[in-house]
Structures are given as C-alpha cells and as structure tokens.
C-alpha cells in the first residue's frame, strides 16, 4: 500500500471548483439563498419589535423602508427567496417518495401539492394584508 500511495497523483481541488460547471454554480446559488431567507426573518422580527416601540417608531421605520435602496434590496431578496422556494419544492419529490401498491405516485403530483399550498397561503396572506 505504501509504495502505491506514494506514486498515486492527488489532484488539488481549487477553491473555484464550483465555477467549473453550471450545476455547481446553481447549487452554490441555492446555498446562498439561505442568507436572504434568514435575513428576511430577522427583518420581520425587527418589524415586530418596532411595533412594540409605539406608533411613531413603527411609522418612522416604515418610512425608511420606502427609500429606493430598501425597495431594491426587497426585490433582490424576493428573487432569492423565490429561487430558494422553487428549487427546494422541486427537490421535495425525491425525498417524499410515496407508493400506491407497486406504482410510485408521480413526482409532479407531490411537488404540485406543495405549489398548491404555496398559492393558497399566498392568497390568504394577500387577503389579510389588503384587509379584505
């Protein structure tokens, strides 16, 4: 074994390995989305905290959110969160493998349930926010 180990060539893995193929870039992008998801959760907590500080503090915070940079950041976050949701929903049927007898329940159907749930929740939230 010793001699064999000595002669074998170990190829180094560069830090840029993930730039070499598109699937790896997309994977890294998916990993990156978690920062935006976590960031938005922190933002929502701050929003609730400001609410406890009284109407003025909350109002000022909401005004600050209307700045162009804040709106731009929200759009970027939205894009990443959408990418996060869609990639993970698409991966769900790999993990949630259901059978009816010998037949596997179609992957599209499993993912479809998640997408439907997403749409329903989004509609409910939209109705609440719009005060209908």
């Amino acid at each position: 074994m010793g001699e064999k180990e000595m002669s074998a060539y170990h190829r180094p893995v560069p830090n840029t390995w993930w730039l070499k193929r598109t699937p790896y870039v997309l994977f890294m992008l998916r990993e990156l989305t978690s920062i935006f998801v976590a960031g938005y959760c922190v933002f929502l907590l701050i929003l609730v905290y400001k609410l406890t500080q009284g109407a003025d503090a909350y109002g000022n915070f909401i005004d600050a959110l209307k700045s162009p940079s804040s709106i731009a950041l929200h759009f970027i976050t939205l894009a990443f969160v959408l990418y996060h949701t869609i990639t993970w929903f698409n991966l769900t049927p790999k993990i949630l493998v259901l059978y009816k007898g010998e037949e596997q329940i179609p992957k599209a159907l499993v993912a479809g349930v998640f997408y439907t749930g997403w749409v329903v929740v989004s509609i409910v939230v939209a109705l609440l926010v719009l005060g209908m």
Binding site: K4, R11, P23, V97
Partner: protein
Amino acid sequence: MAETIKLEIFRYRPEKESEPTFLTYEVPFLEDWVVLDAINHIKDEIDGTLSYRWSCQMGVCGSCGVMINGVPKLSCAAFLKDYYPDKIRVEPLTGFPVERDLISQIDDFMTKLTKIQPYIIRKRGEEKPLDEGEYLQTPAELARFKPYSMCINCMLCYAACPVYALDSTFIGPAAIALGQRYNMDSRDHGRSARQELIASHEGIWECTFVGECSAVCPKDVDPAAAIQRAKVSSTVDWFKDVLIPWGKKK
C-alpha cells in the same frame, strides 16, 4: 481525407513524471464510435502505453468511467458525434487519486462499499435453512428498493460529488444508496447494523444535496434521493429516541 477528431488525454506515468500532462491524439471520426472506441484506437494504433480500464462496452460493468470535458461519463456510452468537431478532453474520475493515465485508485470506494454491508442481513435465529427455499417478496415490496439495486459501482457519482472531492472521509453516494437499498428490502433486518456508519458524520450528514450524483448516474439510481431519505428516517429515529425513550426496540 476521412474526418478526424482530436482527443486530449490526461497522461500520468509515475515512473517518468511527477506531474500529469495532456497529450493530444487525432483519431478517425466515425458516427457510431464512442469515446472508448477512440481510446482503444489510440492504444492499438497510435500509443500502446496508454492505460485505462474497460470491459463490457455496453454500460453494464461500470469499469470505463472517466471525465469527458469535465463531466463524469461511461466512455462506452459517450458518442464522439455529440462532441464533433470539437476536441474532447478525457481525464480520470475526479476525487480519486490517479494510479496511471486514466486509471483511478478506487481502494477507498471498495473499502467503504464493504463497510456498508450491502447484502441481506437476517435477525439471529431467523435465517431459513437453504432447503426451505427463498425469502418471498411481493412486487410492491420489490418496487420500494428496485431503483437503488441497479447500481453498477461505476463511481461516476463520486466523481460528480464536490463533497467527496473536498473530503474523502465522506462515505459517498453509491455506498449509501446501496445501504439504503438493503435497508428498504423487506427481507432484510440489518438496518441498525448499517445505521452506525450511515447516520455518522461521515455518512449522510456530510451530504449537502448538490444532486449531481443522481444527474450523472448511468443507471438512474438517484443516490441523492437515497441519502436524503436516509436523513429523514434517521431524524425520525432521533425524535423517537427523545420523545419515547422507553419504546426503544432492542
């Protein structure tokens, strides 16, 4: 003149060089040739010193896996016409040490495969004598694990896995998928014996679900799914242990 295509081949001859080099060979381009045919042509007609593994030439033996333009593929299943007229770059499988030219050192995989115990384990005292015949199984029970049993140990999934390339202690896609194949087999009782390795840090928890192992698998085994499903069942085990510690089975 007949059409030709160039192959840029990774060469490593430890007796004469300490670093690998690439040598370019020009071979005839034929519509029905795969990369393995071109490599065989080089070996037979141009440079007999080229070393590589191959056997069945029909995608069953799993010996001829190489990196073709950076993507792990069976060289017997990669057609030249899909790359023509561009040059094709052929390298040994990523993530493994290189023994010589296109030959990877696969001892690590073989050791891990053995450790995962990829065979039916029965509970002590529940093994039937041979004359009582086989353990029966319904088609529905077979369907649960059949896709995972199609693995040909070609190791393309390891070559596609950046986690394995960065940290070779990872048990890796094929070995875990094969463990899962037996765990899901209704005739098997060996899950707890495999669990120590599968649920270890070097096992399923090292996987970050890149998913490329499944994308490159020539047999549609979907090792990424096998690993994620093992994560779910290990998590369920953990919750059961914590919430109902008295319900522990021996």
